[in-house]
Symmetry: C2
Subunit: 320 residues, 2 copies
């Protein structure tokens, strides 16, 4: 039967799928597999992304209530739309749940989906409900693309400024807190339970001339590396430009953790990172964290303070 | 915690969700929860539907290979688009699978999705791949609406003709064959493994003035009842107008089954049933099977030869 998905890895499997599909000769899909979301021309410009949360893998029910699972799932799918420069407009949800799930749990999940949709200016449009052994929530986000075209992962140029919008490291800090059996600091736990992605910053970045963009779901360095490899540049991150918020600093010393671990390797906050031409005026929410260099000496990838990052600390759903 | 989803039932849960969401005040979702697919105005007219298949619930791996699962999942989602009068254009897939799934299985599933997409004129645009305990394939179909508006379940009028396009009862017959440990007749087994929905008949029905339409996924009478209740009519089906194909007839006598059970209660073929004004010219693929009557004597619902159908034999994912 050949290798398993775990052996091939999530990204290996997705590459194989992309190769087997090829490009669309019908002119409907203008940007397909391999970026945050697909862009389709169905008459108007539609942008779509799907994101799935499996109980016990993407959330632990003792740490996330139904409403929080709904908000997280909606946020994950909608941030992919923002990361292309798009505006989320509608959600579809597939709920696969055990038959003995309390109906109240489903109602709270839907409340969470609609609340998070409202934050981004979107609406829950429909879905599907089926029975399964384990809970699996899959959200498809659809959006509009207001700018001239999508901002992909592949457009960063040598010399570009790298900048970030939104919180980074808070969700990872909250996960550390919960993992060690604590329920506070409340702000960090809440950041893990419900992310606060900077949705408007996506289209703002596109309008400001962003050359490439991605949202941080797996880890700052891990996601920047996806962008760097797609763009064939070396992204050098300057940690001095990533100030550690007081809340993270205090908790990191109480828990004896280097707060940069949370900031550089933590996922789930859904910050947006983008590259901009050196002379571009950064949109208000973005702050500079590094620079795109030529790949000639160290190859395409990510460096921290000039030292190439090995790639450990990113997340592969199948390699754990 | 209140009642479970099983106690409330699939349709009860969905009704509760629809109530909690209400109508969209943003003007994006022009038709939301409760029909085959959502209709959204994201600039152009976009129509979307999601359909989920759980291993062991919606298919048994010993009866359906990966490619067949892909074709079935794509067909189920795309027929919902056709049942609104729409044309499927793009698919997104969420794959939740165990880590030890052979990569070959995923590749074959994707091949099945793209093959079925091609049959309907659509393209696989993207997706998501996550690890889970059990395999769960969720397909979102996006399409365009060529006509003046969607054909919903709620527009049937008293006096309308009820007509069907596509095979009905074949998949159920194939399931009977497989359930009894046989692998032939091959045509019936294949009909269960890979449905052949009449995709073009959806937009054709819309153009011909169809007043209401639905695809048969749960059972002919069960799905007609959804339409009848939504339209507040009584649909009277005349079984004499549902001829039993030779293949079903032969197998039904060999297996000692009434073939009308397959035709009236069987799902998974994804035939289209629609109502038309009495003077409309039916599109080529449609044949007349009954009539919409006033609900005044027996209430809204479905009757066979004038006798009200009790509702047994339909499928509720949670009540089994």
């Amino acid at each position: 039967m050949g290798e398993t998905v775990a052996e091939l890895g999530e990204f290996g499997m997705i590459s194989r799928i992309a190769e087997s599909i090829g490009t669309d000769t019908r002119g409907v899909v203008t940007l397909g597999i391999g970026d945050d979301a697909a862009v389709m021309n169905l008459g108007g410009a539609t942008i779509a992304s799907v994101d799935t949360m499996v109980e016990g893998r993407h959330y632990r029910p003792e740490w996330c209530g139904a409403q929080e699972v709904g908000r997280r799932a909606a946020a994950a799918a909608m941030t992919d739309i923002a990361a292309m420069g798009g505006v989320p407009r509608a959600l579809l949800v597939s709920l696969a749940i055990p038959s003995d799930t309390p109906a109240q749990w489903v109602s709270e999940l839907v409340a969470g989906l609609t609340e998070e949709a409202a934050v981004a200016g979107a609406t829950l449009a429909g879905g599907d409900l089926v029975a399964a052994e384990n809970t699996c929530v899959s959200v498809t986000a659809l959006g509009a693309l207001p700018g001239p075209g999508p901002v992909t992962r592949a457009g960063a140029q040598v010399g570009d400024v790298v900048a970030i919008a939104g919180r980074q490291g808070w969700a990872a800090a909250g996960l550390t807190v919960l993992s060690r059996g604590f329920r506070s600091p409340r702000a960090l736990v809440a950041a893990y339970q419900v992310p606060t992605p900077p949705y408007p910053s996506g289209p703002e970045a596109a309008a400001a001339g962003a050359t490439a963009m991605i949202d941080v779901s797996d880890g700052l360095l891990a996601d920047l590396r996806h962008l760097a490899v797609a763009s064939d540049v070396l992204i050098d991150v300057d940690p001095d430009q990533l100030p550690v918020p007081d809340q993270l600093l205090e908790t990191s010393s109480a828990f004896n953790v280097d707060p940069l671990t949370w900031i550089l390797a933590g996922g789930d906050d859904h910050a947006l990172v983008a590259t901009f031409p050196e002379d571009a005026a950064l949109p208000a929410m973005f702050s500079r964290i590094g620079r795109a260099l030529g790949p000639d000496t160290q190859g395409a990838g990510v460096a921290v303070n000039g030292r190439l990052w090995s790639g450990r600390g990113g997340h592969d759903h199948f390699k754990g």
